[in-house]
């Protein structure tokens, strides 16, 4: 078995991991980036649509163009990386020593490190997780990401009469892709009374192609012997329960599941990491360090993000946290203040702040509202927003000065109120 030592191991070479490894190397940490596929890049490699890098590069790039910018940066700085390297388990030896067991074609590698940055991303919910019953035909059921991989990496058309379950961005993007390639998208089915994705995608992906969006509807069962033949859909009531009288069938040959992403954290749960049930990811402090000292999480493994720019930002923050940890042989003891969810806040990251440095908060609301103020009453901070939607993450940069008075509090509450 090969044994190597590092300051930081970054697990997962999507945009969060790439950005984190680049920053870690820039800061002088002995870093290795571990990726289980045979190429770096993660999901953006199959994202051929623009909307990437508006903040980070100040350009509107496709996911593919964005990731190649990061590759070029990585080449220039000379980040060490492993491909076809699957992290099998993590052992906690001491607060500043972890062992990552990696399966590679060259054998088992035991990588010893002071810190870990975990950027493996999220997985898609399956048909069973969203309680769709009925037949289980082998052909015709795909998650949106799987359909995207098939179409936009491998040039395969999954089907020609499509029903999309879930109006999150991934589903909307795929609706447009199918329509562009000549397939008939019969409808997008959304459980909630409002869309799950950004408004810009509702316009560009559904309205542009006259694809009907059925809000407050649930996909109930699949009918189909060897391939999908129909989906049974029903309108739901205020409690999201299907209304018997409002059931109908949509003939189709393909069902695309875009019912949401879940941070991929089962490996971390095994080592006693505490998760936030709201995000599905770990609870972290402003360095994005989890309750396990020296393990940092960023990107979709931490919280499902809308913009790759935030993912990259989090990756860099995690690297900075790792640097601070390595420098001081552990993060110093800090009087952490709990960040509490107030009115209309469904989730917020990070969960703990110190008040001693600039931070970035990422949050999502529970319900859409217009003309609101996002406030932190304890420090009299407020931000005006004309529209808040669950699908659109709120990002707020708070300076050390703004947070000054938080240093005397036990907690800070983030809430949303109409103006």
């Amino acid at each position: 078995m090969i044994e190597l030592d590092y300051d930081t191991i970054v697990i997962g070479a999507g945009p969060a991991g790439l950005a984190s490894a680049i920053k870690a190397k820039e800061l002088g940490l002995k870093t290795v980036l571990v990726e289980n596929k045979d190429i770096l890049g993660g999901i953006p490699l199959q994202c051929i649509h623009p909307g990437f890098g508006l903040q980070y590069f100040k350009e509107d790039l496709t996911g593919t163009e964005f990731i190649y910018r990061l590759f070029d940066k990585m080449e220039k700085i000379g980040v060490e990386y492993l491909l076809k390297a699957h992290v099998y388990s993590v052992e906690l030896v001491a607060h500043n020593e972890k062992v990552v067991n990696v399966i590679t074609p060259k054998g088992i590698m035991r990588l010893r490190s002071k810190t870990i940055v975990y950027t493996v991303g999220a997985r898609e919910k399956s048909i069973f997780e969203i309680n769709i019953i009925g037949d289980r035909p082998g052909a015709g059921i795909y998650t949106a990401g799987e359909a995207q991989t098939l179409m936009d990496l491998y040039g395969i058309l999954p089907g020609k009469e499509i029903v999309i379950v879930g109006s999150g961005d991934v589903g909307l993007i795929m609706a447009r892709r199918f329509a562009l390639e000549g397939a008939k998208v019969k409808s997008v089915i959304e459980l909630m009374p409002y869309p799950g994705g950004t408004m810009r995608n509702i316009v560009q992906c559904l309205q542009d192609y006259s694809i009907p969006l059925y809000l407050s509807h649930k996909a109930i069962r699949i009918i189909g012997n060897e391939r999908v033949e129909k989906v049974v859909v029903a309108k739901v009531d205020e409690n999201l329960k299907p209304i018997e009288k409002c059931k109908f069938e949509i003939p189709c040959d393909t069902v695309i599941l875009a019912a949401g992403l879940v941070p991929n954290v089962s490996m971390l749960e095994k080592i006693g990491m505490i998760m936030d049930p709201c995000t599905g990811g770990p609870m972290v402090n402003e360095f994005l360090e989890t309750n396990v000292p020296g393990i940092f999480v960023a990107g979709n493994a931490l919280v499902v993000n809308d913009l790759v720019d935030y993912v990259v930002e989090q990756g860099e923050q995690a690297a900075e946290g790792a640097f601070y940890f390595v420098q001081n042989n552990g993060l110093p003891t800090i009087n952490w203040k709990r960040v509490v969810r107030g009115r209309n806040i469904r989730l917020i990251v990070p969960h703990y702040i110190s008040g001693e440095r600039d931070i970035i908060l990422y949050a999502r609301v529970q319900k859409p509202e217009k003309n609101v103020l996002v406030t932190i009453p304890e420090i009299a901070w407020k931000m005006k927003l004309s529209n808040v939607r669950p699908a659109e993450m709120i990002r707020a940069k708070l300076s050390k000065t703004t947070l000054e008075s938080a240093r005397f509090e036990d907690k800070v509450t983030v809430e949303v109120n109409t103006q």
């Binding site: 699957h86 399966i103 997780e129 098939l150 058309l157 390639e181």
Partner: protein, 497 residues
């Protein structure tokens, strides 16, 4: 001159018969299966239990009682010989009140009549120590130590690999449409792939065994009805998982609802028991009512029922129910050479090894054949080496011998490229006409985990595409292809508007 034998159906019964027949020099055996792979009927959609045999009435169902007990014993040997994953945790039949206790005590009597070892009752205190996951409302349980949990689909695959190794020929995607009988003897079977000559035809067609039986013109009135059983399958990482097999008191139509931890580590609850019409033999759909019922039973059996967010799969299987639950096992003289092993409902899986020997003895007796054992018959078959099941040291050694073991394709279950390629190789070796994604799933475990294949299905399909030299979109999932064509398919054929 060897006798030509055609076995209809490569489920657990048909393949077990093939294996046992292959021990003898006397037979040229063809195992015929209408699906693309083996064991795709009730054999892969059941509760995975090897029953002790204390739930069979020897007076009413003498075959079932005798062969279940014998099968339970034989599976220990078969699992070792064939490298099939199995564990023997024993089972607890749980009762919640005194009426149920009365019923439970009947099973103690049955255990005595059937000579099943070690069956006894445990009450509350002891029960909780034996099985901490049990619901505190349970007042007691009938414990049967010889119950086991097997991987049913891997079992059938293992049996078939060994049978083929010993000379059996497997024909998949081959559906029997008629039986040719001339001068009172079986001559062969007519299939969608042509005529296959046979001196002996053995009907092991499970849910369609009534149709095959009527092709031979015997036992008119024998019908097999589908009894649907739905299941809930949960993620491996839930907190409360039973170590022993737990189930509720049997009903007239089912053995009760079970809560088990499968050999793969997943909590499974089921089955329901719903009689469907004879025409519904392809209806393996799940229903709201069925699944809701299982959630209720889960709450009844376990101290803490699993969270609804932890379901990774729901599925249903169809058990073949013969009239009055009687197995139809008969070697006919009119027509000579036709053998029914039909309507083999529970405890069918458990009984299969014993049933196979019983059928061979029936052939010997009824057709007066002097059985000659092969001098060289290989009882052994090894499973695909699985890197995810090894220690790190063992894995390291394996990878140094074959680097493909170090390339992980399925992250949820840690399945390597070498295992995928080995599965493809084995599927080709036993003669499957189509390498399917499901076939790889059942042989390697890839796609059985939390993500249910959303990450790995594409990568596995790429391997199949490469190594079977077919375009990616033509790779078959179960029966139909993964995609419908290349991405520009519709744009190329679209008429301009």
């Amino acid at each position: 001159m060897k006798m030509k034998v055609v076995i209809v159906g490569a489920g657990v019964v048909g393949s077990s018969i093939a294996r046992v027949l292959s021990m003898y020099d006397n037979f040229d055996i063809i195992l015929v299966e209408k699906e693309p792979d083996v064991g795709w009927g009730a054999s892969k959609a059941n509760t995975s239990i090897i029953h002790p045999g204390h739930e069979e009435e020897p007076n009413i169902h003498p075959h079932r009682a005798k062969l279940c007990k014998e099968g339970n014993r034989l599976w220990r040997q078969w699992a070792r010989e064939l490298d099939i994953p199995v564990k023997w945790p024993g089972e607890l039949m749980i009762f919640y009140n005194s009426e149920e206790e009365k019923i439970a005590r009947k099973y103690i009597e049955l255990a005595k009549s059937n000579n099943i070892p070690g069956v006894r009752i445990f009450y509350q205190e002891e029960l909780r120590k034996m099985e901490p996951s049990i619901n505190p409302n349970a007042i007691g349980a009938v414990y049967a130590p010889t119950a086991g949990i097997i991987s049913p689909f891997e079992a059938v695959i293992a049996i078939v690999e060994n049978a083929v190794d010993n000379g059996v020929r497997l024909l998949t995607e081959t559906k029997v449409e008629g039986i040719k009988i001339a001068e009172g003897r079986v001559r062969g079977v007519m299939t969608n792939m042509g005529f296959i000559e046979a001196d002996i035809v053995i009907n092991a067609a499970g849910i369609y065994s009534d149709e095959i039986s009527s092709m031979a013109g015997v036992d008119s009135g024998f019908t097999v009805r589908p009894r649907r059983g739905e299941y809930l399958l949960f993620d491996e990482d839930i907190r409360i998982k039973p170590e022993r097999i737990l189930h509720t008191i049997p009903t007239p139509i089912s053995k009760g609802v079970y809560a088990i931890t499968t050999i793969h580590g997943n909590l499974m609850i089921g089955p329901t028991a719903e009689d469907l019409s004879v025409e519904a033999k392809e209806d393996t759909s799940t229903s709201e009512i069925g699944l809701e019922y299982l959630w209720n039973e889960a709450g009844k059996l376990l101290r803490e029922p699993p969270s609804r967010t932890k379901v990774i799969r729901t599925f249903a299987g169809l058990r073949p129910e013969p009239p009055d639950g009687h197995w139809l096992i008969e070697a006919y003289t009119e027509p000579f050479g036709f053998i029914n092993v039909a309507g083999i409902r529970s405890p069918g899986f458990t009984s299969s090894p014993a049933l196979a020997h019983h059928v061979v003895n029936l052939i010997k007796a009824k057709y007066d054949i002097n059985l000659v054992m092969k001098r060289k018959w290989n009882p052994h078959r090894s499973d695909i080496a699985k890197v995810g099941h090894m220690s790190l040291r063992e894995a390291d050694k394996l990878i140094s011998e074959n680097p493909d073991y170090g390339e992980i394709v399925c992250y949820c279950k840690t399945v390597s490229k070498a295992e995928i390629l080995e599965a493809i190789k084995r599927m080709k070796k036993i003669g499957l006409k189509t390498v399917t994604l499901d076939g790889i799933k059942f042989r390697t475990g890839a796609g059985l985990g939390t993500c249910q294949g959303s990450f790995c299905r594409c990568r596995i399909a790429l391997f199949i595409s490469k190594y079977m030299d077919i375009p990616l979109h033509k790779v078959v999932v179960k029966k139909k292809p993964y995609g419908i064509g290349e991405v520009k398919e519709l744009l190329k054929t679209e008429r301009s508007e």
